[in-house]
């Protein structure tokens, strides 16, 4: 679970990196496609975290619930 949180932060960090490169015009036009693809994946990953219920988390919390009951 802790690792997943890290991944969100890491994804945001990587996005920030890509954005700042785009903004400073540092990107080679050949790399643009690759970066776009990577950014899309990262955005999707982060959005899922925010907006989609994670079955794994639910399961863990339910197990925890049962243990407490």
């Amino acid at each position: 679970m802790a690792a997943k949180k890290e991944t969100y932060s890491e994804a945001m960090k990587r996005l920030e990196e890509i954005v700042s490169r785009i903004e400073s015009n540092e990107l080679d036009i050949d790399q643009l496609g690759e970066y776009l693809q990577e950014a899309q994946k990262l955005i999707k990953f982060c959005k899922n975290k925010l907006y989609k219920a994670d079955a794994e988390i639910k399961k863990i919390l339910e197990e925890d619930n049962e243990a407490q009951a």
């Binding site: 954005v19 785009i22 970066y35 925010l50 639910k58 925890d64």
Partner: protein, 434 residues
């Protein structure tokens, strides 16, 4: 008469009359509330106590009563001013009359209350706890924790039946942004004397699975003022301050912050506000993501467009460039040709001139040769006329001593052998005399 025993009633009447005459006024008295209870008709019965400095032994005790008409007024006044329910354990300053009833005995009847005394006492107690936490270096530990980027997995400490918990969950789960939250209830008693231990136990349960949670929320339903003294204890504060996850409190009171509020990571007033706080936190994260998304989806096409324009401008510039280059080359060639022509012409002129000079040169050379031939002939003639052979033929002779011509007779000594050369032949002779 002196020996006639009094009935108990008579004695008690005597005590009552004595008390009434000796203590006829109303008195302000400081005491701690104990065993406070309100009966069906709204009268409040309680005990006033005074403890020693350690707080363990009782030094004084008196029964107290607040009649319903007074109690209704005083309670709302007290609770409005202190934000604190009128319950056991509070220190109060009350105005009382001292009464004695033949049947019920000694009691104090409350006629007024000064809430500022209680407030002062609560503040003093909180200050004392905060000072101790500060000395131990744990006062700000929870505040120093960084709130995770995502605060979705929420361990909630509350009582299941409290409206506050329901409000909190509703607010979270129906947030207008559609964020996902995973709240889970860790039940605790949120009222009365058991608050402290009950919350500590809930914290222990959360701590056992702490990797499963991003944040802890302690909430209590709002509404009627109740006893908050349970949130003002050292043990609870110390537990919360050192808890490894950020704690958000929404204990639902309007007045002073409890010690728990002061040491928690974030303090809000109500459970709904706690939910709002968490939603807004995730909202900020989402906004950051949206900002990145915007840049990426706007900037990348813009960069591509920009690149396309650059390419376009190259294409339009190429024919112009080529033409310019050709012109330049033409010009260079013309210039070169001109230079060649000029150089060639001047060379031709030079050569022509040289060619015209040649006959003059030839005749000059011939003259020179003739002159030199003539000079040579003259010289030959002069040489010939000066040759010894010619002189010898004329009768002159040549005398030599040891192979060298003798031109001075004084250089000869008698006895020298000399050679004499004539036009024809030679002879040797000896000098006899001079």
């Amino acid at each position: 008469m002196e020996n006639k025993p009094l009935s108990l009633l008579e004695l008690n009447s005597l005590v009552r009359r004595s008390i009434t005459s000796c203590l006829p006024d109303e008195y302000w008295v400081q005491a701690e509330l104990s065993d406070v209870r309100v009966n069906y008709s709204g009268h409040c019965y309680l005990e006033f106590v005074q403890k020693d400095a350690t707080g363990n032994a009782l030094l004084a005790k008196a029964r107290g009563i607040i009649w319903t008409n007074v109690f209704t007024r005083l309670r709302s006044y007290f609770e409005r001013e202190t934000g604190q329910a009128f319950v056991s354990g509070l220190k109060v300053l009350v105005k009382v009359t001292v009464d004695f009833h033949e049947l019920y005995g000694y009691s104090l009847t409350v006629v007024n209350i000064d809430p500022t005394y209680t407030l002062g006492d609560m503040v003093r107690r909180r200050k004392e706890i905060l000072r101790q936490l500060d000395e131990e270096g744990i006062l700000t530990l929870n505040k120093e924790l960084e709130l995770p980027v995502l605060t979705q997995r929420i361990a909630v400490i509350s009582s299941a039946t409290a409206a506050g918990y329901g409000d909190f969950c509703n607010q979270l789960l129906h947030n207008s942004f559609g964020f996902v939250f995973y709240p889970r209830l860790f039940q605790a008693i949120m009222q009365g004397e058991q608050v402290e231990q009950s919350i500590i136990q809930a914290l222990d349960r959360i701590n056992a699975t702490r990797d499963n949670w991003d944040v802890v929320v302690i909430i209590r339903g709002g509404g009627a003022t109740s006893d908050l003294s349970g949130f003002d204890t050292y043990d609870l504060a110390a537990n919360c301050a050192q808890f490894p996850l950020p704690i958000i409190t929404g204990i639902g009171h309007e007045r002073d912050d409890t010690v728990l509020d002061m040491i928690s990571h974030t303090r809000v007033k109500t459970p709904t506000a706690a939910a709002e706080f968490l939603i807004n936190h995730v909202r900020r994260t989402a906004q950051e993501l949206e900002a990145y998304e915007e840049v990426i989806y706007q900037e990348v096409p813009r960069l591509l467009q920009q690149e396309k324009q650059r390419l376009g401008s190259f294409v339009t510039r190429i024919p112009g460039q080529v033409q310019m280059r050709l012109q330049r080359e033409n010009f260079r060639q013309e210039k070169f040709q001109n230079r060649m022509k000029t150089a060639w012409q001047s060379r031709l002129l030079q050569e022509n001139y040289r060619l015209q000079l040649m006959p003059r040169l030839l005749s000059a050379l011939q003259n020179r040769v003739q002159r030199e031939t003539h000079r040579l002939e003259l010289l030959t003639q002069r040489v010939d006329s000066a040759s010894p052979e010619k002189l010898l033929k004329k009768g002159y002779s040549l005398t030599l001593l040891d192979g060298k011509v003798v031109t001075d007779a004084s250089l000869l000594k008698p006895g020298d052998e000399v050679e004499t050369r004539l036009a024809k032949g030679k002879f040797r002779s000896k000098v006899i005399n001079k």
